[in-house]
Amino acid sequence: MKILRLRLTNLNSLRGSNEVDFTQPPLAHAGLFAITGPTGAGKSTLLDAITLALYGRVARYGSMPSPDAVMSRHTGECSAEVEFACAAGEFRSVWQLQRARKKADGKIQQAKRRVIALPAETIIAESIKETDATILELTGLDYDRFLRSVLLAQGDFATFLKAGAKERTDLLQQVTGTVVYEDISRAAFRRAADAEQALATLRREQDAVTLLDPEQRRQHEAHLATQLERLRQLQELAPTLTRRIDEARRWLDVERATRQLQADQAAHDQACQDDAPNLARLTQHEKAAPFIADLTTLDHFARDDEKDVTARRELDANAPQRLQTVQTAQTAAQEAHDTLTRETEQMTGLRVLWTEVIELDRVLATAREALRQVESQHAEAGTRLTATSTAQAASAAALQRTTAEHLTASGWLNQHPLDATLTAQLPEIQAAHARWQAAEEAGVGTDKKLELGQAELKRVEIAVGRIEEILAPLRTALAKANTAVTTAVAAVEVAGEQQPLSELETRRDRTRDRRQALDKLAGEAAHLRKQTAELATVRRNAGVTTELLRQGAAAITQLTQNQDAAAALLQAHRVTLSFAEKVQSLESHRTTLRDNEPCPLCGGVHHPYVSTSDTPARSVAAVRGQVAAAEAACLETRQQLGAAENLRASHLGTEKRHAADDAKLTAEITRLTTDWNSAAEPHGLEGQWQDEARLTAEIATARTEESRRDTQLLAVRTAENLLTAARREAQNALTNFVEQDTEGQKQSTLLKHLREQWPSLEDALAEQRRRAVAARDALAQLTSAYVPSEPGAAPTAGLLATLNERATTYTRHQQAVSDLFAKVEKLRATFDGCAQQFEQAQASVEAAARKVAAAGQEVERQDRQRQEKFGQRVVAEAQRIADTALQNARSAADSKRKESEACRQKQESAAKEQARLTEAIAARSAPRAQIAARLQAGAVAAGFGDGSAIRSALLDPTAVTVLGARRAHLDDRRTVLKTQAEGLATQRRQLPPAAAADAGNLSHLAAEKAAGETELTAVHAAVADSRAILKHDDGLRGRHALVAEQIQAADREFVRWHRLRVLIGSADGSLFARFAQGLTLEHLTVLANRHLRQLNPRYTIRRATDGAADDLELEIVDHYQADVTRPMRSLSGGESFLVSLALALGLSQLASGRTSIESLFIDEGFGSLDAETLEVAMSALENLQAGGKVIGVISHVPAMQERITVQINVTKETGGCSRITLRS
């Protein structure tokens, strides 16, 4: 997947429309670019727009953003659009949000999303659900995977590294999706449980099957054998009877058929006699038939001859008219040909003339062109001449003006000769002026110093006086403070009863300790009393339990006896039941039993149950009721016994617990008593923990003592504080006094020093004044030549400036004169140049005029010649007219020639037809004679006399067909009757001689057969009954064996599912899912390590080995420290960034799966990295980029901005808005 373009409107600080096109330069060619800008400008908003457009969500806000969080303030709508390319093509995903009426205060509407296929612009998804599904289908990435593979958002970067085991599991689940493994795990668990259940069910089923015993089974088998023997006998008898009845019936049938055949034979003979004459006519026709072909041929010949003779006659009649037409056409063709020849000859003459005229026209055109060129040259030369003349005039005027200026300037210079030397002398004058000024200033400085000295002296004198005044009160304050200290010391001694503070504190602490110890003892005594009471309760309860136990034992003995009695009763009832059931099973035989005849089963001769009463059945039912009642009674006593035993067990437990409690409490009380006594000994209370009143009194005493000590201590401390304050006061007073005293001494020293310095300063001032006068005189001497001055007077203030001004003015004029001179020289040269150019131009105008005249004459001559030859006519027009005439003549000749040719051909074909007809008539006469002769001979041979007799013997074809059919029918009928007679004779021979007798006795035989069949049915029923009983038992036996087999199979099944469950099955599905996630984690470490090797070869990430198999922890291997492993937490900031980057890149690869990810955005503060780590991270990103990815990095780190050439810059502007610009 590759992000191509991004458009966003009114998102946060990026108000208005913004577009970033990653396919246009410079972004298109930069594999790596940075999104830069100050914090809060909206860098991350660009990435938010991508997730909004694709998924309608923003990574920073966790889930659905509130509209206020994304929409720019004071706007009514916002949107984000992303165009992306994936394997299926290019698409645009759009997200839009509006307020009502698009007003800033309108109510927020539902967000809209769309996916559009490009470039067709067809909408392929519109609802939110559809959009999510479509994006997933197109990109293979859902929102979570997108955040792990394309857009590593702020804060999510180190998620994986920092995550706990639970979050890590969730992340891996998000990235890879292990739901299927949970399903499998749950299914494995379920299947094993099902198999276990099935096995139990089968075992119960096997227990429920009851089989016949061997003796019963043998009796049923013997009965079956007897019945089968009788069945065989009956079945042998039945076919003989059936056969005899059948033969008798067939005998009767043959007799009936013979009679019918004889009647049919008579009818056939009569029909043959009736049809004899017609059949004779048919025979005559068949003799004449061979001559039909020859007769037909003769008829055809006669018809053809008649047609040909008519056609030849018509052709002969038209012959003269055809000849006339041919001659007319030939004459017209000859005339047209002659006309054409004449036209062609005329044309040849004209062509020569035309060629000459064309050549003349060409020459004339060339001459005219030459004339035009020469004329334009002449005009150009004229223009040039005018320009040159203007330039010459301007040049002359400028020269005159500049010469005048030069003269004026030179005049000024001559008027000021004195100023020429001033420039050279000026530096010297300036130096002298400076020297004088310096001397003056030095004098003034010394004056000022004297003044200051005087002021200082006065100030110091005043200061000394003031300090003397301050010192007196300070001295008094000092004395007062010292007195206060003495008073405070006395107060402390009184309060503390002459004892030091520490001693007082120790005493106070001692009383407090005693009081606290007593409090504690009182508490413990109360606890001890509580424990004693508890012990008494426990012992009382133990007594109760013992009594209950005794009662329980008696009850159990009684119940055991009851149980034994109930079991014995049940056994007795069961014996009775089995006997009653046996009696009932013999019921089927009871009617066959006779007294004094042995029973076939038991051999007894006495039969007590021979009567047909239903007593046995009733007695079985009654006995079954008794058994059930006994079973219930037995069960009840068993339950009662169980309950009694449970109760007893519970009582035994209680008893044991009481004993334990007793022991524990006793030990505890003993221990507590000992402890208490030893603690109470120092207070004289040993062994008195039960005396609560005594303890209370002791505590009250101790408390009173403690509070007295506290009060005393407080008083002493207050006094001491007062003392400390007094001492501080005294110290401050002393310090103030010493300070002021020191300052007074310092000022006195200063005053003395100032008075000593005074005379030397006055001398210095006089000397400086002398120097200033000398410097002024020197300056006046230098300037006298230029400015008149009186000796001894000070130079005027503006003197130097005036002189400077004069020198500068002179120099400026000098420069101007020299500039003007150069200008005059240059103008003169220009003027000379112009004059020369004017002359040249004049000469070229004259030469051009001459050339124009010559060319004009040439044109005139050529034009005349042409007029003589061809006048004003145009050659091409004449040529076209002549060509048209020639063409017309040629087509007329051609059409006439074609007409003549057609007439001639028509004449020739008529002649040919005449000849052909004559020949055909002649050719037919010979065969006709031949056929007539053959016919005559044939007629004689067949006995017809001549040809006409043959023609009359022939019948029409319909009569021939009818007669033929009749003759064939009679022949067939004869054959059929004969075959029937033979068949009946054969049947009669095949039947036995007894059949005739049986035929007379048929009804008797049928009755015999019916009686046999009735008995057979009865025997069949008996056999079926016996077989059913045996088969039922067989079924049960088969079922029993089958269930046994099934149990074996189910057991095998259970074992194998159980094995699988142990490996992967769990009720919540976690067992296999965790394993699968473990594989993912291992895969991730391999991917991450590839990146980490680039970033920092020192470390390798590894799945932690010390935890449980499904524990998803990671650890770090330090290759530089003998491969020691360290937990992730121990990494430093920079290292953990690199590891995070490696993991994030690995995760990105993992999440993308088989989707190719070509865009990667990293929104992470690189700011926390040191320079070296940043360098390494940058190199890693560049290497990724070389691998074909386009990578966008959000950063405000200067080093990254310096290194990454292409940047999307987001800058803040006024009013909380930002702007996007591209930089390269």
Binding site: A1076, V1086, N1089, A1122, G1153, S1179
Partner: protein, 410 residues
Amino acid sequence: MSTRILHTADWHLGARLIECDRHAEHEAFVAWLLPQLVALRPDLLIIAGDIFDSANPPQEALTLYYTFLSELARKVKCRTLILGGNHDSPATLHAPREILRALDVHVVAAPPADPAAALLELSDAVVCAVPYLRERDVRTAQPGQSADLVAAAIREGIGRHYADILARARAIAGDRVIVGTGHLTATGSTASPSERTIHIGNLGAVDAACFTGFAYTALGHIHRPQRVGAGNSVRYAGSPIPLSFSEVDLPKEFRVIDIAGGQLTQHAVAIPEFRPLRRLTASVATLAAELARHQGTAGGVLEPWVELTVTDGRTCPDLDRQVREAAAPLRLRVLKVLTPAPAAGAGGADAAPPPRSLTELRPEDVFAERLRRETIDPASPESIALTQTFHELLGGLYDTAPAIPPEAAP
């Protein structure tokens, strides 16, 4: 009259090895170099890039740099040409450029806007200052270029830059020789792993033919001193101290080039070892003795730093502690303890095909892996039976719930 040029490069001031500071070695080097320069009296000192190790060097590295330059100006009075390398930040180097010019120190950290400013004229030579060329310096982006084309464009841009500056130098050289400089990888040079790959993914290795026309080309970036190409006129000076353990055995030197009457002679001056870096190999049994044998002498150069490879280290669970205890009383420091994988598995992790992602695995594959982790032999009847049972489970699962993800299907 002759001209003498000194050529050195890749100082990497402020560098660290593992976590250890190299400042002491750099100080020792500078203290050694200054008297050498006083004795040799060069007219120009060229430092061909990577003067600092990082864009924002630590304060003590900056102090050493400025102290060296001021001492140089005071004691030697030669001109100095400092070129920017790939490790250097142009902004950091350029900041004090104007004040350094007063000391006759010329800093060219990025190609100057005025190409004439990159030429330095001496009495017998004209020196062309070419710093590390970044992509933006030599290339303008073109639409739709592949990575290979970009690399070719960078190489071509670098070639053009040299051709251009050579032409400018020729225009003013007269009969003086022309000396080139640079900070890049030239083909035919032998690298050591401590140079960071440059020119975007190591694409910008330039052919030595680029430097045809220069009487001598002083290059930086490769830490091993060497010549490039057939002649002796294109040279890397190498780094003055080994920057990683991989450079332990490389000689360290700087070049001295004398130019007189258009003729050029050169020789190397070896730089002593200020701190021994040692790569030792030992077994667990012999490591204590081996370390003791290589410990430094009292009062000698700086204490040695060691990279220790323990051949049978993987068998020893507390190797790290043992090494620390063995090294504690010795005059040396162990920076790296390596435990190589057994020969059979050498490069095993890299060579083995990567495990497939869960999205590429079918549940059957995951189950097979589960069996493998249980150390159940895949050919055993037990394994076959279990696998069969598992397939049966899958069959039933997909019949009832077709929730199997499409990518999991074979």
